[in-house]
Symmetry: C2
Subunit: 561 residues, 2 copies
């Protein structure tokens, strides 16, 4: 684009990364950006139901494309989005949060505007929004070219969100200087390494691998954030090192790889034997760090002996008391693929698809639901797993070859899954997007179903309706009575797609195995969204590793007298 | 309650103010608070669809009851709510935002938890949430009694939200010390005045009133925030001073008062003659300050001559170059009721109910809709006006005797109206709650309809469906083509109440005058919620004072070359 406005310029520059959608809510102060989208042919505007949903959608999109754009307006819009953006920070996703702000022609006259506290303080919301990002900039015609480069570079280097404000006036003014043209994200070297530190780190790792008799790799989601999933798979295939994922890393690598052992999360590990196997390893090679929160570690029941653990973080490697820095995760993985030799072959644990149980007229339960769901997933599909009891069940469900999955096992903001599925579906170029969510989570954000219908997105959505906040029922540990606050409104979920204007969707309520199977059979020939309200008895909400929640609960309450 | 836990104590102490509902989303870290609600008989838990909706509901509730309680959890919950709480700060509503945080037993061990960034920084979200409040406290067993007093005192003094964190552990531990019992809000002296400053201010105002030949009062919403609406009405009746409201102050005083002239908002004033009348006054007495944002001032077209204006703010009075402080608004109004004498009688402008126009088979338009709506409002009813074009139409609609109204003419966060109507309805003890909202705003938060159905709330909701963001259509000023980003998803709104489980609701789509009249006729005999999807042609979205938006738009864009 020749002679672009500031808004057009930053959008073009972000589109160069391979981003082709922008999620947001339009609004005054932001029209400069909204209008600019219409002039950037490679970008499509996606009007989300609200800003938090837009932030979640951008989060999902960035998980697939590597980066995403979110657009909100000053004050009300950016604040509504902040929980979603903070979640992207936690999950290390470069979401570019573009915020339209009042015009300098208004500010410089000292005029007060709406979306503020009635005064002329226009700097009030910046520190709030910035706190969810790793870098920020206020773009003007004369700084836009340099500042855009800085913001993109730093957001990609740290793999975290960026906050970019553009006033309504500046957004419509032409950039001063020579516009730059960028390259796709996968062609960008995002971090650098000190050559000596890198060489030392690689020597340390390869030596330790050579010495190890029973090494195991642990794969975290951060590997995918830096576009290194294929490189990690190459390293594993080359060395034959067995590997596990954490719940947060699940779906990063193909679970059909022969080296895949299962999911390690301390006492909640799957399948049987995996926990012992990881903890008996003489070398644990943690690819992508370790998210040490209780949701990811079976309530802190994972056991890593620092002396036996090497952690490859984003830009540093830790081997016991040795720290190598700066060494970029991509340099380390590429170096290992070049140098590492096969490790001793040991019998692998073979995780199995969950056994098919249940007769046709049986009520749906976790035991008979997940095996049937698992067999519906095909190569190219993406599975979005909402926070809740389904997350624990699905952590123990083998993903078929070529199926990736996404969850929020760290930030854990209920409601994320539905808009994130929109973002994932928009980012994908083939395969279906599946969403499994409980009703407790879905109710927060199901207005996004209307947006899916509007844009012709065709996900398969399973809403597990048990009438309660299932996971909270577990965590709150009702001793003598169920807590009323865990009950939910009596939404007739199967009526939602039609009410929200989704045309050609298959929407059903299913309560038995036969009904589920019938609905699943109808999916293959169906060209449209699918929305199943899956009736699950409340007592089925109990995930198997409830014991470790009780530990957290007990930690949280006074000691018995 | 004897020997209460920290959570029980603060809830009891807040309930003493006259608060009987708590809006929120339950969750781990917050169970100490959730459980405590079950032990406070005077408090009812209201499970909102999400935290932003809960914040909006609390905002609505506080407008009626004077204060409200919002409960969210650490990180994800409090951040989701912040836009709503910031709106309550802008609109000067004491919303007590109670946030459950991780247990000290977790924090002191240095364990990382979910709802955070994977580290042990538990102080990350406090400055963010605090910024939407005027006071904050972290309650512990040994500070709960004193800190609760401080927080309540300051939130009421400043009439702004308060941020209170209670860890899961502390929430369940017993307070140390002697619990205090409070009194209802209307018995509390919230601010104090310096006696000499107060006397001087009253002298100044009464002298100026005595000299004035053509004084006018302007009433802002802040009068109601300090519980002074009745006192202001008494002052007006006693002095016979004619008065206007601003759009933001509309509904604060009864519009059937003979002294009521209309709504002053510069060029957008109503009815004809009001603008000249206010600007020709030799004394403008501004009760409750003046929100100088463009939405409230006809895009900054109000004209107040400082030499002729006296402003009675929350705790200070300005008369030209003289500032009197601290003088509390309640002391000033009470003093004026005692001292002020009748002002010269001048012919009042009599605003009229909008004329009934339109034949039965005519399509619904703003011209034929609002007159019919106006005639349906009865004493005791509350009208919640969402931000959007309806706000401008309703600013010019006479409220019948005993009808109050609420809007967000300052913060202007679209989506506020629907949950706020839930809060208003829960706070009221008689009369219906009416909500007028556009589809552009409604789509952000209509999942709250399920909550209304669940709790048996019976509002009358008019969703004006024109398929676009109407007000943005105006503000974005499409020159050659309508912007695609102003279009909305094709939601079948009249199907929403049934899909969301609202039993016994009257839900209809109406497109003609006859259909609207038929639906209105059905309301009187109907004991349940009413939900009308009102089909309005997009071109009808244009509010009459579009001209002043264009001024803002022009201010926001580059000067023509």
């Amino acid at each position: 684009m020749s002679n672009p406005t500031v808004a057009e310029y930053v959008l073009c520059r972000l589109a160069d990364l391979g981003i082709s959608h922008i999620f947001g809510v339009p609004g005054d102060y932001s029209f400069g950006i909204n209008d600019a989208v219409e002039n950037v042919p490679s970008l499509r505007w996606v009007a989300c139901a609200n800003e938090l949903n837009a932030a979640y959608a951008a989060d999902g999109y960035a998980r697939v494309r590597g980066a995403a754009i979110l657009n909100t307006t000053f004050g009300v819009g950016e604040l509504s989005a902040i929980n979603g953006v903070m979640g992207s920070k936690a999950h290390r996703l470069p979401v570019f949060h573009l915020v339209g702000s009042p015009s300098e022609r208004i500010k410089y006259q000292g005029l007060a505007t709406h979306h503020n506290l009635g005064d002329g303080d226009f700097g009030r919301f910046k520190p709030i929004s910035e706190s969810a990002c790793c870098v920020s900039a206020e773009l003007t015609p004369d700084n836009a070219i340099e500042e855009t480069e800085r913001v993109i570079r730093e957001a990609l280097r740290q793999s975290m969100p960026a906050y970019i404000t553009i006033s309504e006036l500046c957004g419509r003014q032409r950039v001063i200087g020579v516009p730059k043209v960028g390259v796709p994200l996968d062609q960008i070297k995002r971090q650098g390494s000190d050559p000596e530190e890198l060489a030392a780190a690689l020597t340390e790792i390869t030596n330790r691998l050579t010495e190890a008799r029973q090494p195991v790799a642990v794969v975290e989601a951060l590997v995918a954030r830096y576009g290194m999933a294929e490189e990690a798979a190459r390293f594993i295939s080359r060395t034959n090192i067995v590997f596990v994922t954490t719940p947060n890393g699940k779906g990063t690598l193909d679970e059909s790889m022969p080296e895949f052992l299962g999911v390690y999360t301390g006492e909640g590990s799957w399948p049987e034997g995996v926990c012992d196997r990881v903890e008996a390893a003489d070398l644990v090679l943690a690819l992508g760090g370790l998210a040490n929160v209780e949701l990811n570690t079976g309530a802190w029941s994972t056991r890593f002996d620092p002396a036996k653990t090497i952690t490859i973080n984003d830009r540093w490697v830790q081997a016991g008391g040795k720290i190598f820095t700066p060494v970029a995760i991509d340099d380390v993985l590429r170096g290992l693929v070049e140098r590492a030799q096969p490790v001793p072959s040991v019998p692998a644990i073979q995780p199995q698809a969950p056994a098919m149980v249940g007769s046709p007229d049986e009520r749906l339960t976790s035991a008979n639901l997940y095996p049937r769901l698992q067999r519906m997933l095909h190569a190219g599909d993406s599975l979005v797993i909402e926070t809740g009891t389904c997350m624990f069940h699905l952590a123990k469900t083998l993903l078929p070859r070529g199926v990736e999955s996404h969850s929020q096992t760290l930030w854990g903001s209920i409601g994320w899954g539905t808009p994130a599925a929109l973002g994932v579906a928009m980012a994908k170029t083939n395969g279906r997007t599946w969403l499994v969510t409980g009703d407790g989570s879905h109710q927060l954000t199901y207005n996004e179903i209307a947006v899916m219908g509007r844009y012709g997105i065709k996900p398969v959505i399973l809403v597990l309706n048990n009438g309660i906040y299932g996971v909270e029922y577990v965590v709150a540990e009702p001793v003598d009575h169920p807590h009323e606050y865990n009950n939910l409104a009596n939404v007739q979920y199967h009526l939602i797609p039609a009410a929200m204007g989704c045309r050609g969707w298959l929407a059903r309520r299913v309560g038995t195995v036969a009904e589920l199977e019938e609905a699943f059979a109808a999916i293959s020939g169906h060209d449209g969204g699918v929305y199943l309200e899956v009736m699950i008895p409340p007592e089925e909400s109990q995930p198997e590793p409830a014991a470790y929640f009780n530990r957290q609960y007990k930690l949280s309450t006074p000691e018995p007298a």
